[in-house]
């Protein structure tokens, strides 16, 4: 198949950037990133600079790949990362627009690569259970109902890619933040620090410049792991509890 690509090129964070147009020949068995590999080989052969994009595992789990494809983070397929998107979902002659994830809190590094270290700082603010190595009791001493473990697991499958932020008109990170808060708040091990955790993580989220949630729910629709917005509801509940509930050091 012959494709026309309109790819966002931007030298660095301070460059204005703009679309460049390329023609590329692909086949339907390729993944989207393999199609971009083909483009980059063409560019290198012409001694031009290849398009920079983040990628690593190429099996949909590391969360490195990003990019907005025809206006949608990770492209048109639901619950699919860019690396798992295959070209059989496009047609010969298509024009495809490819842009970086856009958000104030995700500054562009180069071309399609953005800086998502804000996510790490939010986890550092409290996205953990305070347990040192060696302190743990027997794993079966903490019984967790199957349904609870399963719900916590669903939240914990977030890959930290940032598609939720890119999809949100407010560039809100609430799906990402709530997934971690929900995962840990659901489990008995995580309840002890729940108030402190939600306070700290929400504060960090605000400081990083992410917007607020206004219930658009585009985040859930675009999330490659199908993380539910019900976690945002739980986060809000946890937050209110932490404000109006029993006082706890923050």
């Amino acid at each position: 198949m012959k494709l026309t690509l309109k790819v966002w090129r931007q030298q660095g964070p301070n460059d204005k950037g703009g679309f460049a147009t390329y023609q590329v020949e692909a086949n339907e068995h390729m993944s989207f990133l393999e199609m971009l590999d083909v483009l980059n080989q063409q560019l290198i052969e012409k001694k031009e600079e290849p398009v920079a994009f983040d990628h690593d595992c190429r099996e949909g789990i590391c969360g490195a790949c990003s990019m907005v494809i025809n206006g949608q983070p990770h492209g048109p397929m639901q619950k699919t990362t860019t690396c798992q998107l295959h070209m059989r979902h496009f047609k010969d002659g298509d024009t495809i627009y490819i842009e970086p994830f856009r958000a104030q809190a995700f500054p562009v590094v180069k071309d399609l690569v953005v800086d998502r270290s804000a996510f790490d700082r939010i986890i550092q603010a409290g996205g953990y259970i305070s347990v040192d190595t060696g302190q743990a009791q027997d794993g079966n001493a903490i019984l967790i109902p199957k349904e609870t473990a399963s719900e916590a697991f669903d939240a914990a499958t977030c890959i930290g890619c940032g598609a939720c932020v890119a999809a949100c008109p407010n560039a809100s990170a609430m799906l990402f933040v709530s997934a971690k808060i929900s995962h840990l708040a659901l489990l008995p091990q995580g309840k002890i620090e729940a108030s402190r955790r939600v306070q700290r993580m929400v504060k960090q989220m605000d400081e990083e410049g992410f917007g607020r949630c206004s219930n658009v729910t585009a985040c859930e629709a675009e999330c490659p792991k199908g993380i539910s917005v019900s976690h945002i509801a739980r986060m809000n509940r946890e937050f209110l509890k932490s404000v109006f509930g029993a006082p706890e050091a923050v």
């Binding site: 001694k47 290849p50 490195a64 270290s117 347990v131 060696g134 743990a136 009791q137």
Partner: protein
Amino acid sequence: MKQLDGHIPPGPLKEKWTTYRSTMPLVAPNNKLRLDIIVVGTGLAGASAAASLAELGYNVKVFTFHDSPRRAHSIAAQGGINAAKNYKNDGDSVWRLFYDTIKGGDYRSREANVYRLAEVSANIIDQAVAQGVPFAREYGGYLDNRSFGGVQVKRTFYARGQTGQQLLLGAYQALSRQVSLGKVELYHRHEMLDVVLVDGKARGIIARNLLTGELERHAAHAVVLATGGYGNVFYLSTNAMNSNVTAAWRAVRRGAYMANPCFTQIHPTCIPQSGEYQSKLTLMSESLRNDGRVWVPKKVEDAEAIRKGLKTALDIPEEDRDYYLERMYPAFGNLVPRDVASRAAKRVCDEGRGVSPTGKAVFLDFATAIERYGQSKAHAFGIHQPDAATIRRLGEQVVEEKYGNLFEMYEKITGENPYKVPMKIYPAVHYTMGGLWVDYNLQTNIPGLFAIGECNFSDHGANRLGASALMQGLADGYFVLPYTIGVFLSNEIRTPRIATDLPEFEQTEQEVRTRLESLMQIGGSQSVESFHRRLGKIMWEYCGMARNAEGLRKGIQLIRELRKAFYKDVFIPGSMDEFNPELEKAHRVADFLELGELMCIDALHRNESCGGHFREEYQTEDGEALRNDEEYAYVAAWEWTDINQDPVLHKEPLVFENVELKTRSYK
């Protein structure tokens, strides 16, 4: 050649670790605060080590070339993690896990290391649970287990098909907590390009800030490499695109020994290659072999018809199918170890019975499991004479609960629905048992330089069992290194903070700069990628699933020629002083071009077959690996000399005091 000493503590096997741990020199808490440690890599081993060391009080600097520690390739591990908990009451024990691992590794690993690994395995599960890792549970709230290859008990803990992700996030969160407490300094998008030795001890690294291209010096009292394996030397593997050998290889170039580099694990269940453009291969978890049955048609004509698209799997009647693993290895059936399953797949495909257009695929069929689960579920629902459609629907539900994400991934990649038609799978490079030589303390032969996780060679011998990589990475990071590094550091409490303006730092940085400059200056016409692909083909052809002396010699020759061509004609766009992924790749491929030759040299020297190392000249009558314990029961540790010169072989004899060396049998 010298004989290497693994520094294995004396005493009976069962007491070695406990006694050693209780009597080893310690570093007092106030002294820990004055000691600095560099950890390179943030996968399971690196993140767990960095967090645990910081909790003890050491000052830790941790480096990752990713944009976040959570992207390390441990995240992609699917199936599970082993632990000798015996929760299933099925006869598991520390001894049995130890024995299975030694046997699975075809008697090419150290008894003492493996026993220690089995001992601490149970603590890992406890630690992970305490961190909030959502392992699969039963209805009563207890932890669930499943079974993996090469064993006859259920000891594998799992979190659906994303166990690696959940365990890594646990370690990442522990690490993040130490970052917030100021005990860990995190350097993301930084790649280690060399290790700095001062007076023969590892005292720091040279790292490149990948965003700016700037070279930085970082000093510490000790350096820990947790940089994973080198499977990407084959270009196509289940490793992530950026996984590489550079950190380990640079240590080798500074004098560290590389042990058993030819021991590569070819995983039997991967999605077959579909074209020349392909950039990587995707694993389908071994856990699928709990329920999937592997088969090919009995008749070559049927296989041909399938390849041409004239027939599908569903057209082949039961009696014309060859469930070859069940036929050849009735005791373990579809759950034989990976090396055995891979070779069997290669054999049936070589016979012309492969089922994809390339002829390189076998079926992994879930129909029997769907039927069985469907019957059982119908019974549980009180449906006494369920029709076929009901059974199917209920059975598919159970299979989805167990393997849903894997089935989904398969469908995304291939466009075929594995609930309806059997999966097609073929072996692919997955893991490297070889790695930096380390002693019982996980220290390389360079004092102060440690290697943990897949980066070292220590625990899996010539073949790793499924669900043991996560176990080893976390054992090293949480429960072994935090103790054993103290043996070295207890002698360093009087060493002041290491300065980065020492001449050794100056010189090493200059050498790195020169190396990068010379790569940039080649200014040839071929892309890095094209060299990497060619190297991968040579490795797969001559140092892959089956090897022979003639092929290996040819492989070495071809690699040398390719390396020459690389240094004459590679082209790297952009400049050194900026974000330049092509330059990163070029440096990694340059190192692979040296490692690949060493792997062939190692494979050529080992005149026996064992585990994943199958030399065609050494096989039994029915095609099984034929070991030579008289001459090769040792670890081959290679010392680098110079480019195009033979490396020097050092041997660490493997002494088996507790297990009897037998021919592995899974029949």
